[in-house]
């Protein structure tokens, strides 16, 4: 995508992640105001607001765009709300970008926030025997960490990854998170602590698995022309947003499924779903993995960070552990992964998470990430995947 087809990230803002126990609206509004302040704009300048929905907070969560707009004060701005599980933020961003690129508006605000219950995610209440997300708990007791653990065990069997490698991912991300004022977990950890934490879903231990958090993130997108006119910081551009779905047959067992697609009639596609998510973003941006300065990937578990490094093309299959062991993926390394501290330091606030990744891309590319700063950051990728087949990869460049 050429510069003419890009939009500017004029502002980014977050409400710190934690377990604050307050309504999600407040986190979203705080993040929105922070992003607007960062952009040097007022809420009344915003022509279009997109809210990333939350499904655990009643009706206001299903119409997040309206909820945030009402809380900020009705201005007549157009709104949209969308849900795509962990990819909700990316879809919300894509909707905003598209409206700007279509020339239908110049200033869009994208907001996601969540307030989460204690413990691992459980299905939404009520008996729903037609809903696979309910049935996987009912019939199998298959929690989210169970799926992460299946991937981790598979990785150990195929590539020889070890629990020590997984622990090293946590140690690395905790160190980065200790430098991030928006992270929920600010303490550094040792490999011994990770390896001594309780086993949750073999081979993953408590400290290998991301928590669920409260938090909010927001991004202000503007057209390049508007940025010029208002004298806004136009350093950071969105070069690609990939929201691809899987290609049949998807041969990886995905949350919340009971089975993969069948390869009886059609051979597997060239790329796995996760690899295809990043591939589409590189194509759209006209960039290669080698062009990246850093990446934020969805480390729902420590082991999954290693999978993602390969899926986004930064290492051949089975070789992410080598990068990790060489220190390449740490702050100060050749290609820092999750310089924000990742989900390991944040915990997951579903509709806010993809937007939090974009906040980190923005601050790194502006050179304002403080003690976490990646030297000479020119291009960053944020990748994640929402259950039910939602891909999310965003590339931002200077």
């Amino acid at each position: 995508m050429g510069q003419a087809m890009s939009v500017v990230v004029a502002g980014a803002g977050m409400h710190p992640w934690g377990k604050w126990g307050r309504p999600f609206v407040g986190y979203g509004v705080a993040a929105a105001r922070a992003a607007l302040r960062d952009a040097g704009l007022e809420w009344t300048d915003v022509q279009f607001l997109v809210g990333a929905d939350t499904i655990r907070n009643g009706y206001p969560g299903f119409v997040a765009g309206a909820t945030f707009a009402q809380a900020l004060g009705w201005t007549g701005a157009r709104i949209a709300s969308c849900y795509a599980a962990c990819a909700s933020g990316a879809q919300a961003l894509d909707i905003a970008r598209t409206r700007i690129l279509a020339g239908l508006c110049d200033v869009a605000l994208v907001v996601g926030a969540d307030s989460t219950p204690k413990g691992f995610f459980t299905p939404v209440g009520g008996d729903r025997p037609d809903d696979p997300d309910w049935l996987r708990f009912r019939l199998l007791g298959a929690t989210n960490p169970a799926y992460f653990a299946l991937y981790a065990r598979r990785r150990m069997a195929l590539y020889g990854s070890t629990p020590e490698d997984f622990a090293a991912v946590k140690v690395k991300n905790a160190l980065a998170g200790s430098l991030n004022p928006n992270a929920r977990y600010r303490a550094t950890v040792t490999a011994e602590q990770v390896l001594a934490s309780p086993m949750v879903a073999d081979p993953l231990r408590l400290m290998d698995i991301c928590a669920t958090s409260d938090g909010g993130a927001a991004v202000v997108l503007v057209s390049p022309e508007y940025a010029r006119r208002r004298g806004l910081d136009a350093t950071v551009r969105i070069a690609a947003i990939s929201t691809v779905t899987p290609s049949f047959p998807n041969t990886v067992l995905e949350l919340p499924c009971f089975a993969t697609d069948s390869t009886a009639a059609v051979p597997p596609p060239e790329r796995t779903f996760r690899a295809s998510i990043a591939h589409a973003a590189y194509e759209e941006a006209g960039l290669d993995p080698a062009d990246l300065s850093f990446a934020e990937v969805y480390d729902l578990s420590t082991a999954l960070e290693l999978d993602w490094i390969e899926d986004v093309g930064l290492a051949p299959p089975g070789e992410a552990d080598k990068l990790l062991r060489a220190g390449d993926t740490a702050l100060g390394g050749r290609i820092p992964i999750n310089p924000s501290g990742g989900l390991a330091s944040f915990g997951e606030a579903i509709p806010a998470q993809a937007l939090a990744q974009v906040c980190e891309l923005t601050w790194q590319l502006r050179g304002t990430a403080g003690a976490r700063q990646v030297v000479n950051a020119r291009a960053g990728l944020a990748a994640n995947q929402g259950l039910f087949g939602h891909g999310s990869a965003i590339i931002a460049t200077v």
């Binding site: 413990g119 299905p123 019939l139 169970a146 299946l150 069997a157 309780p198 499924c257 009886a264």
Partner: protein, 146 residues
């Protein structure tokens, strides 16, 4: 009409926790999928209506019994009791899960593992379909020793 074999069972038949996904026939468990008459794609859980192959417009999906043996794609357990609607046994012993690859169907199917722990499993080993009860009674398919 001859009486069904099922009537010859001693004692009540276990109630399946889900209808139409598996059957226990003469004590032998089978997963039930559907197979597209046009492209032969297999679907599990059983899909009715449209074939999921995007290049096939087949609507004739017939019930088919899946292979009973496969190899472990991966496995794990739940060290803590999973939340409702799962019914956890008391006292709780970790539920073991395996994703098992069925070669003929080209499909990986997740299930609980019966009477085995993660220490008994490794990727690539063979398992066979069986069934067993959930803690509150209904029967579900499970993977077990061949």
């Amino acid at each position: 009409m001859l009486p069904s074999k099922r009537l010859c069972h001693i004692g009540p038949m276990p109630i399946p926790a889900i209808d139409g996904w598996f059957v226990v026939d003469d004590g032998v468990a089978h997963l039930l999928g559907t197979r597209c008459a046009d492209c032969r794609t297999v679907h599990f859980p059983p899909q009715t209506g449209l074939c999921r192959n995007p290049r096939c417009s087949g609507e004739d999906l017939a019930e088919t019994r899946l292979s009973r043996r496969g190899t472990v794609w991966s496995y794990t357990n739940a060290c803590y009791p999973p939340p409702a609607p799962f019914a956890a046994a008391e006292p709780y012993t970790p539920v073991t899960l395996a994703a098992v690859e069925l070669a003929e169907e080209g499909i990986v199917v997740l299930g609980q593992v019966k009477d085995m722990t993660v220490d008994d499993l490794h990727v690539g080993m063979e398992l066979e379909l069986t069934s067993g009860p959930l803690a509150d009674g209904p029967e579900v398919w499970m993977w077990g020793r061949p």
